[in-house]
Symmetry: C2
Subunit: 158 residues, 2 copies
Amino acid sequence: MKKEGGCQAGKGSLERADALCLRRGVRLTPQRRRVLAILCASARPLGAYEILEAMRDGSRSLAPPTVYRALDFLLEQGLVHKLESLHAFVGCRHPDHPHSGQFLICRSCGLVTELEDRGICESLLSAASATGFVPERRVVEVLGTCARCAEEGGCRND
Amino acid sequence: MKKEGGCQAGKGSLERADALCLRRGVRLTPQRRRVLAILCASARPLGAYEILEAMRDGSRSLAPPTVYRALDFLLEQGLVHKLESLHAFVGCRHPDHPHSGQFLICRSCGLVTELEDRGICESLLSAASATGFVPERRVVEVLGTCARCAEEGGCRND
DNA sequence: GTCGATGGCGCAACAGTATAACAGCAACCC
DNA sequence: GGGTTGCTGTTATACTGTTGCGCCATCGAC
């Protein structure tokens, strides 16, 4: 459980989030910012209760609703994503434009890669609209083995 | 909570499941068959505890592990799917060939449509393999409004 | 037949995830 | 000042899923 710099989001994530919320007229309060900071600093997705634990750092006792409310806000603003298959959250890699990404989730090392593949979006939307369905939220998660782990794990070429 | 014939799976679902398990040399025990029957008879996805409730029908008292074990089996055999975004399960519409479908989930009426769109699969797989990722399980769920509800709800064309 | 191995199931307890409901408080508008 | 709104703290609880143990039926070996 290393604690070093975030892989998910760059250094300026928080500052960009500040600017973005300012522009939108919504409030990135200290609690919300804290949750975002924890997520951005993590190399892997975190569960709500892990975030809670991280927020308790010093001594303050916090309860789940605090974290969930902050997450709700951040999800609404597109600053974080929820990984349904993991019950966990990650900082968004490019929050500047609203989107619902696709996620490659390595079961071996926990690494999550966020994609924004136009082909996937289009085939998904066209398949949906072919049935008259009106999409609102898309959940696309692929569980498997990342390149590095697949390599280390023994060069599976099958 | 109507109980009439299943929309998700046709009439012969159970019989096909019997044959399939026989062929594979695995046992579709009464409990497992019961869970499958309940799912197939439901017009909408059911949570594990809803299935549990349905199984208690008469008087027998059952515990969660019973249902979860049956579901594990059915999932392994591809006879049911889990909808991660709903924490719920549906009978598979075409269990004869293994696959991981895509799901259109209506937030208004609960209807779930299972797709098997080649385009989506291919764009997903090609995007994954472009990064060297080795996919094992795919979760593709689109939440929104089904054609009927969209129509009734007031012809939203936006 | 009976012995051990296996797999399915019943049962109790518990772990993990998420929400409801209510209270306090600060900021803002009038 | 007084009402309103939005954010947070707190307690309790609901919902989802798992662990661990023990029983019993089945099946093959002997």
